[in-house]
Every structure is written in structure tokens, then in C-alpha cells.
């Protein structure tokens, strides 16, 4: 074939300018979305909302205390959930059929009932067991099972049932050859899991776990039904007194959005940390 010259049958277009696609549809969509947003903003501005109350209660002491409770409950319940999830996933993957059965039973029980029901059960544990402990070392259940403890147990144990499946998926994603290589250098099963399997499973586990974390931020609001003073409960207590229902709900909503916005970049940092050895930015 001749170099430099196109065959004479085709038009010579090598020097023409390339014009990219204009994407008119996108521009139209942006215009419509902006219009809708402006309308929405205007509706809220002229609607029956006293925005100065939102500002006034945004950092009220009760709201701040509720925020702190929401935060520690989120991290506490997730920590409990992840710990239980890891143990359950390891049991489920163990060669021991008894451990497998226990793990499957736990997942079945806690995924099979609503969280709100579980919260109520923990909170009302005193109705089943008036005292906890044995003999002289026992306490009245109502003294121990505070709203905070009931919420931590209810949310954490329920979360563990879901997290175990996320962890198990991560473990299954690691090639079987990795277990064998770990055994071949003399590792026991648990050491192989800790040093070889879990670090690799993390890559698969973090995105869904980030999802669960964000879910937990909002799930803590369920604990308001057992009188746990998280942020929604604090907002409700205030509007029961002053009737500024919408303003306080907006305060709570903004705080939830702030928490979730801070958690998202944290997840991206973690993802980058565990992408080690995967050959760049994958």
C-alpha cells in the first residue's frame, strides 16, 4: 500500500477538523434540574418554616448531646457488628460442622426478625430475666439494661448477622492458592486468615462495609423508640415542647447529612490503603 497517500477511491479528509459530539441532551437536563431545584428552594423559603429556629437549635446542647450519642452508637454498634461478623464468617467457613451450624443459626435468627423488634426485646429483657448473673453476684436487669446498652446490643448483634455475609464474600474472593501457599510456609488456619486472607479480602469488603456504616448512622435513629437519646430523639424532645416540628427535623436531617459526608472520604482513604499491590489505582 502507498504510504502517506490515501487510495484515490476515498475522499482525502486527513486534514479535516474533528468536531466532538455536542451532548444537547445533557444541557437540556441540566436546565430542567436547575429549574426544579430553584422551585424547590423557593417552596421551602416561602413555606411555613421558621429558618431562624433551625439556626437557633442547630447547636443546642440537647442536639449536641444527641449528636455525640448517635456518633458513638454508630461506631460502637459497627465495631460490635464487625467483630461478630468476622467471628461468624470464620465459623461459617470452618471445617467444623458444629461451628458452621451455629454461624448459620445466628445469621438466620437475626436477619429474620426486624431490628426494631430486637431493640424492644433487649430493652424489655427484664420481663424474661428479672435478674442477671448467678447467686450473690446478680443485679436487677432493669438497672443494667439501659437504653444505651439495649441499643448497642440490638443494633450491633443485628449488624453482625449482615456483616458476616460481607466478610464471607470477601474471604471467598481470595484465591484458594493463597490458603495453600500460607499453609506451605507453616501457617495455621487462623494465622493464614489474619496475615494472608483478610488483608486481601479487605479490598472486596470495604465498599459494602462503608455502605453498612452509613446505614448504621441512620439505623441508630430507631433506638429513639427505646428512649435512647440520639439526635432524632433529642430533636423530638425539643419539638414536643416548642412544636417547631419541621425546623427540628431539618436540624436532625442536616446533621445526618454532615456525618455521612464525613464518612465517605474516610472510606476512600481506607480503600486506597488496602489496594496495596494491585498495580496502581484499581
Amino acid at each position: 500500500m502507498g504510504q502517506g497517500k490515501t487510495p484515490s477511491a476515498l475522499p482525502d479528509i486527513a486534514h479535516y477538523t474533528h468536531v466532538p459530539n455536542r451532548h444537547w441532551g445533557r444541557w437540556a437536563a441540566v436546565a430542567i434540574i436547575l429549574l426544579l431545584l430553584t422551585g424547590l428552594a423557593r417552596a421551602f423559603a416561602v413555606g411555613d418554616i421558621e429558618w431562624r429556629f433551625v439556626g437557633a437549635f442547630f447547636t443546642a446542647p440537647a442536639i449536641m448531646a444527641g449528636l455525640a450519642n448517635t456518633l458513638w452508637m454508630t461506631f460502637g454498634a459497627m465495631a460490635l457488628g464487625i467483630a461478630l461478623g468476622v467471628v461468624t464468617a470464620v465459623m461459617r467457613m470452618s471445617p467444623n460442622p458444629v461451628l458452621q451450624g451455629v454461624a448459620m443459626g445466628y445469621t438466620w435468627l437475626f436477619r429474620g426478625t426486624p431490628v426494631i423488634l430486637q431493640l424492644l426485646l433487649w430493652f424489655n429483657l427484664a420481663l424474661i430475666f428479672p435478674r442477671l448473673g448467678f447467686g450473690d453476684f446478680s443485679v436487677r436487669t432493669v438497672d443494667v439494661m439501659t437504653p444505651a446498652l439495649a441499643a448497642l446490643l440490638g443494633l450491633g448483634i443485628n449488624q453482625g448477622a449482615y456483616t458476616s455475609e460481607v466478610i464471607r464474600a470477601g474471604m471467598l474472593s481470595v484465591d484458594a492458592g493463597q490458603y495453600e501457599a500460607a499453609k506451605a510456609i507453616g501457617m495455621t488456619r487462623l494465622r493464614a486468615l489474619r496475615r494472608i486472607i483478610f488483608p486481601q479480602a479487605m479490598r472486596v469488603v470495604i465498599p459494602p462495609l462503608g455502605n453498612e456504616f452509613i446505614g448504621m448512622v441512620k439505623l441508630t435513629s430507631l433506638a429513639s423508640v427505646i428512649q435512647f437519646a440520639e439526635i432524632l430523639h433529642a430533636a423530638q424532645n425539643i419539638y414536643y415542647a416548642n412544636s417547631r416540628v419541621i425546623e427540628l427535623l431539618i436540624v436532625a436531617a442536616i446533621w445526618y447529612l454532615i456525618i455521612v459526608s464525613v464518612l465517605t472520604p474516610l472510606q476512600m482513604l481506607l480503600e486506597r490503603r488496602f489496594a496495596r499491590g494491585t498495580g496502581g489505582s484499581r
Binding site: 484465591d175 492458592g177 493463597q178 495453600e180 501457599a181 500460607a182 499453609k183 506451605a184 510456609i185 507453616g186 501457617m187 495455621t188 488456619r189 494465622r191 496475615r195 494472608i196 488483608p199 486481601q200 488496602f274 496495596r276 499491590g277 494491585t278 498495580g279
Partner: protein
């Protein structure tokens, strides 16, 4: 002198399939044994039995004077606990067909993982030894590289160094070059030849008949879970007796 490895009438079934059907084999210290045979003949299974990645159904395997997997008590055998099996595996290094390097660790971290985490050796000292091992396999400049950034031949050489770092008495190779591009086979075989020359005891499953002819003290031909023919490399490869072996050799060479 008693053999380093003694395999006595070993049997293994997967479901209804008899993968090993009474295999007996001795390997002496310093010996290089090559196992050849068609795909599915049980070569991998035999290697995996030796370092207990597979538990045998019958027979016995002795490594370095120890019965593997079982404790003798009178006329009974009790299964060893996992910790003891892990300890017994330290006598054996294994190199896999698909390398199986730990992808989240650098070449150096791969090599010191066993010495530091399992054998509890000093990290700095283990790192110095790892660097010497990397130099020995021709990868002195790759200590900080992750497996994803190494070629197959380089990964396999790191895998050999990782196995050697445990100071095993016996090295098992399961088709160490069959996952490699043809131009990378030579560099791995060269490392294995050097290792053989240094006196390491090796059991090598391979289709590289040239390597077997040059390096092996003995060649074993397996078919359908049993040893069909064995002897000095020149004899088994140059003057096969069994019809099945003759057919296999002509198929591999063709």
C-alpha cells in the same frame, strides 16, 4: 542411610475416584526426583500428600524420620493437631504451578513472612537473608516490587526464594514452569538447576524432559494414580519399557 522421604503404599480417593492407588517411593537426601505423567495421573495429589495439603486415606508418608499427620500410640495412629501438622510442613518447601505469591506484599515481604511470622525470627536478620536469596535467584533489584509488577518467571523465582527462606530439607515443585510463557521457562529452570547442584533434595513434577534428563537422579512415570516405571533418568526417558510410557514420551516430544 534411611531415606529423607518414604512414601509407603499411599492411597487417596476423591469421592469415588481413586487418585492415588498404592504409591510407594523413597527419596534420599540430596536426590533430585522428577515425576512425569499425563494430566490427571495423580502427580499433584502425590506432592500435596507429602506436605499434607491433602490427607491420605491409607498408607504412610515419612519425612525426615517423622511420620506425617499421625502420632503412633501402641498399635494405633492418632491424627495430629493442626499446630503439629503446620510444624511438620516446615521441613518441606513447596513451589506451585501458579506461583501463589501474596499479592499484598512486596517480594521481600513475601520471603520474610514465614521466617518472621511462623518461625519468630528477627525481622532485620530475615530481611538480610531474603536479600541474599533474591540475589541468588537473580532478582536483587526487585525486593520492593509487588507481584503484579513482576513477570511470571520473576514471580516463580520469588516463590522459590520464599520456600527456601524457611530452610526446608526438601523442596517440592509442581509443574513450576507450565504456567509460564516459553521465553521465561529457562530462567526458572536455571534457578532449579543451581539449587539441585547445591545439594537440595527435590521432587519435581515436570513436563520439561530436557530438565529431567539433565538434572534428575531418578525419573518416575505415573499413570492412573500409580507408579508405572521408575529408574535413572537416562533409562526411563531413553529406553522406556512400558507401552504407556512409550506412548506418553512420544506424545510429549512430538
Amino acid at each position: 542411610m534411611s531415606p529423607l522421604v518414604s512414601i509407603v503404599d499411599v492411597r487417596k480417593k476423591f469421592g469415588d475416584f481413586q487418585a492415588l492407588d498404592g504409591v510407594s517411593l523413597d527419596v534420599h537426601a540430596g536426590e533430585v526426583l522428577c515425576i512425569i505423567g499425563a494430566s490427571g495421573s495423580g502427580k499433584t495429589t502425590l506432592l500435596r500428600c507429602v506436605n499434607q495439603l491433602v490427607t491420605i486415606d491409607g498408607g504412610a508418608i515419612w519425612v525426615d524420620g517423622e511420620l506425617t499427620g499421625w502420632r503412633i500410640d501402641g498399635n494405633r495412629l492418632h491424627a495430629l493437631p493442626e499446630k503439629e501438622i503446620a510444624r511438620q510442613r516446615l521441613a518441606t518447601g513447596m513451589v506451585f504451578q501458579r506461583f501463589n505469591l501474596f499479592p499484598h506484599m512486596t517480594a521481600l515481604e513475601n520471603i520474610i513472612e514465614g521466617p518472621v511470622q511462623v518461625q519468630g525470627r528477627d525481622r532485620a536478620e530475615a530481611s538480610r537473608e531474603a536479600e541474599a536469596l533474591l540475589a541468588r535467584v537473580g532478582l536483587a533489584d526487585k525486593a520492593g516490587a509487588y507481584p503484579a509488577n513482576l513477570s511470571g518467571g520473576q514471580q516463580q523465582r520469588v516463590a522459590i526464594a520464599r520456600a527456601l527462606a524457611m530452610k526446608p530439607k526438601l523442596m517440592l515443585f509442581d509443574e513450576p514452569t507450565s504456567a509460564l510463557d516459553p521465553e521465561l521457562v529457562g530462567e526458572v529452570l536455571a534457578v532449579m538447576k543451581e539449587l539441585a547442584a547445591s545439594g537440595m533434595t527435590m521432587i519435581v513434577v515436570t513436563h520439561e524432559l530436557g530438565f529431567a534428563r539433565e538434572v534428575a537422579d531418578r525419573v518416575v512415570y505415573m499413570d492412573r494414580g500409580a507408579i508405572v516405571e521408575s529408574g535413572p533418568a537416562a533409562e526411563v526417558l531413553g529406553n522406556p519399557k512400558e507401552a504407556r510410557l512409550k506412548a506418553f514420551l512420544s506424545a510429549v516430544i512430538a
